[in-house]
Symmetry: C2
Subunit: 383 residues, 2 copies
């Protein structure tokens, strides 16, 4: 019996509201038409508020990775030194992209450990065309200090390329204030649209940098998106995934109705609720913080308790109708992760924690059954 009723509490794709799903049932339209341009422009207007930017915003029909490649490949040439910060799987992806398109200067940090700003400055002192950062490192549940890194990038005149795939739309991101030259978000994370679109903001400095690059990628060439986006009747350079634009527009209207301030507050409190419950359940958070780093407010990463593999927790939760995430690469089995992004509600979070309590209880790993939910509810009650 498949009721299509699994609760997705992983760090994307997240559940999509019925009104957003229904928006995709509209017939196709010509993508070179005023009708499509109006949708594109409406999305960009709301996204400007999400990004806190006056920069141009382009929408690529592709995953967040397509957006990351667009960001690096459009402004970095093979001779250009790129300082690439890695403290998780998506930082690693940026590193791979920097190596593919530029001259990589890696700043490798153990996954889940905070970024060492002094070491970063040492790297930048040598000179760099760009620095890449994953703002919210989903794989490790850590939020990196984007404002401080933006300041350093500015000091050394490097382009600041930021993956905001899982922070934009759920947590505070100030593209203009922080000096982010290229910021990327995915549709299926905090914005709670289906997967398949990447939205990218581009500063003037980034636009200028593109002209110097001989071999930009083709499908994800930001210069082509910028050119089509600048037309009197907004277009995309290649045929866009029309139903996903219908969905994004509706999802962004939900964002607008809630308001970004309230949306950020909700995300922060839901993740605080997760952390409060973990403390009661004697489950340790995975990331190591310093004064500049914070726990992610959109996905919580926890160490698997002694005697229980992270993958087993995931499997036991799945049996009970809730999909959470395990660890990636070398963290597989060692951690488990709970997403609280998108349109997640207190009910979703409490149901997830209650189910986790059941799993731990059955394994004989829980002292005070119910204490986790109680601690979480104390936080969510303030919503």
């Amino acid at each position: 019996m498949d009721l299509e009723d699994t609760l997705l509490m992983m760090p994307g794709p997240v559940p999509v509201a019925p009104r957003v799903l229904r928006a995709m049932s509209k017939p196709m339209i010509n993508h070179r038409s005023p009708g499509f341009a109006a949708i594109y422009d409406d999305c960009r207007e709301i996204l400007a508020d999400v990004f806190q930017t006056k920069n141009d915003i382009c929408i690529i029909s592709g995953s967040g990775t397509a957006g990351m490649e667009a960001a690096v490949g459009s402004v970095v040439g093979s001779e250009d030194r790129v300082v690439s910060i890695e403290n998780g799987k998506f930082g690693e992806r940026f590193k791979d992209l920097a190596a593919l398109y530029g001259n990589l200067a890696p700043l490798e940090i153990e996954w889940g450990q905070p970024v060492d700003l002094e070491k970063l400055e040492e790297q930048l002192e040598t000179g760099a065309k760009a620095v890449t950062l994953v703002h919210n490192e989903t794989s490790a549940g850590i939020m990196n200090p984007a404002p401080e890194i933006g300041k350093l990038a500015k000091k050394y005149d490097a382009l600041f390329i930021m993956d905001g795939v899982t922070s934009l739309g759920g947590d505070e991101v100030k593209v203009d204030e922080w000096g982010v030259d290229i910021a990327v978000v995915g549709s299926q994370k905090c914005l709670a649209a289906p997967p398949g679109l990447a939205m990218v903001s581009i500063s003037k400095k980034a636009v200028e940098a593109m002209d110097d690059i001989k071999k930009r990628p083709y499908y994800v060439d930001l210069k082509a998106y910028k050119k089509s986006g600048d037309k009197a009747r907004t277009e995309t350079p290649y045929t866009p995934a029309i139903p996903l634009f219908y969905a994004l527009q509706e999802a962004l209207h939900i964002v607008k109705e809630e308001g970004m301030e309230a949306r950020i507050r909700r995300h922060r409190m839901l993740s605080e609720a997760v952390r409060a419950s973990m403390a009661e359940m004697n489950i340790e958070m995975f990331p190591q913080l310093n004064e500049y780093s914070q726990y992610s407010n959109t996905v919580s990463a926890m160490k698997a308790p002694e005697g229980l593999d992270g993958e087993e927790i995931k499997a036991e939760m799945k049996k009970r109708g809730i999909i959470i995430a395990g660890g990636q690469n070398h963290l597989k089995g060692k951690i488990f992760r709970i997403g609280s992004m998108g349109n997640a509600t207190a009910r979703d979070i409490l149901s997830t924690i209650q189910t986790l309590e059941l799993v731990l209880h059955e394994k004989g790993l829980l002292e005070n059954f119910g204490a986790g939910v109680e601690a979480a509810a104390k936080v969510t009650d303030r919503l």
Copy 2:
């Protein structure tokens, strides 16, 4: 008043059946799950019949252009000579991609003119890593001789890369028999799914070629798709556009229900009906054919009649609720195009021709009002 009832008769996006639209309303699922793998595998099984191939098939979340870039960029390195056939806009795109990733040897032919096979052989005699061909050149309404070009590619041991974006699913394409190493199709053309997915078949020879390429693109790297597609539980390397997979699966079930033989026959007769009506209306077809070339069976390109601009025909048709296409680049104004791809019916075609007759009649450019529809109906009646 917007009834969402415009008839799309352009060469993609095409109208999408209500059951396909509804399929996108299903909730999101984990893309690393047996449920998603089952959808992917089901699509690939039906696509194998569409492509007439035993080769692997990958599905990229991106437009047909993403598939074209994947095809060229994954197997061609900067030193590799690529013979790139251009007799239309998409041939030009392949040429641009060949120049970006390889050492371009262009075979430029006036748009809408047939491919000169002797000149092609001269180019191949010099040695080539690959030859690129657009099978059905939508911009010019011409179908290029893929079987003959496949033989030449084989003779000179070049990889045969073919854009089947607007032929696969609507006309005969025999990937294995013709020796196509990489074939690409878009979702929003003859398969009548929404835009946003590109399906790519990959021969063993193409897979082997990938290992020699140092700088393959990242998001559209076919090696990554092949690796994920080979897993026991099928995956995509990056988050797929889940609703588009729901839609593609349903659209492919329609293809299966009709059967490829009947589907090809329908496409051929609908385009024959268009051509029959144009002859009656004294409107010339745009492409110049030779013994190896044919009119496209999925999109018809016509010269705009003396005294009426192609863009004006398009605008007049649009006023009456039917979207056809004009010419691209230097052909703008000079030609107009009618798509007859996907799940188009005789009713759609006759309605389009009848409307065109009205437009021409009002401009005083039609001698025998009704003769076009009559000629077309004689063809469609045999369906």
